[in-house]
Symmetry: C2
Subunit: 98 residues, 2 copies
Amino acid sequence: MTEAEAREALARLRVEIDAVDLRLLELLNDRTRIVERIGSIKQAVSLPIYEPNRENDVFRNVMDNNPGPLPSEAVKRVFERIIDEMRVVQRLRMEKKD
Amino acid sequence: MTEAEAREALARLRVEIDAVDLRLLELLNDRTRIVERIGSIKQAVSLPIYEPNRENDVFRNVMDNNPGPLPSEAVKRVFERIIDEMRVVQRLRMEKKD
């Protein structure tokens, strides 16, 4: 493979990555909307926002169903970040309502 | 809304979250496969693995196209984690080949 061929192949793969990232972004926003609905319901009936058992279920769901190549420990760390960011959104939303 | 109704609604929304998470997982693995192909090509023609300008493009792509409700700063932090985990995968893969 020449360097010119390599650069062309890399450019194509980057277009693919950007497309995957926009789909990831869409799903992250879908997930945030569902989390917001969960927050509203919990607030309406005064249930606690933070439920550690549910978080473990979330990790188990993705780790048990992971075919790779991304290692399950890496998957877990990505979902920890996702859950953490959505918890911040929920907290800000509730503070606004109080 | 009664507490029983709330719990039922929450259970339904959690099924939705689990489904979104499995689609996120699939895309994360798709993305990892593309990153692995990029790594192989770079290695074949001795291009550097780490390209900070390309990372900025990745952040710009998702932040500029983010309609919310997840704030763009949160999106950026999630993608920092994703990129970081995939860099680890790539590094391990190259060490194995050396």
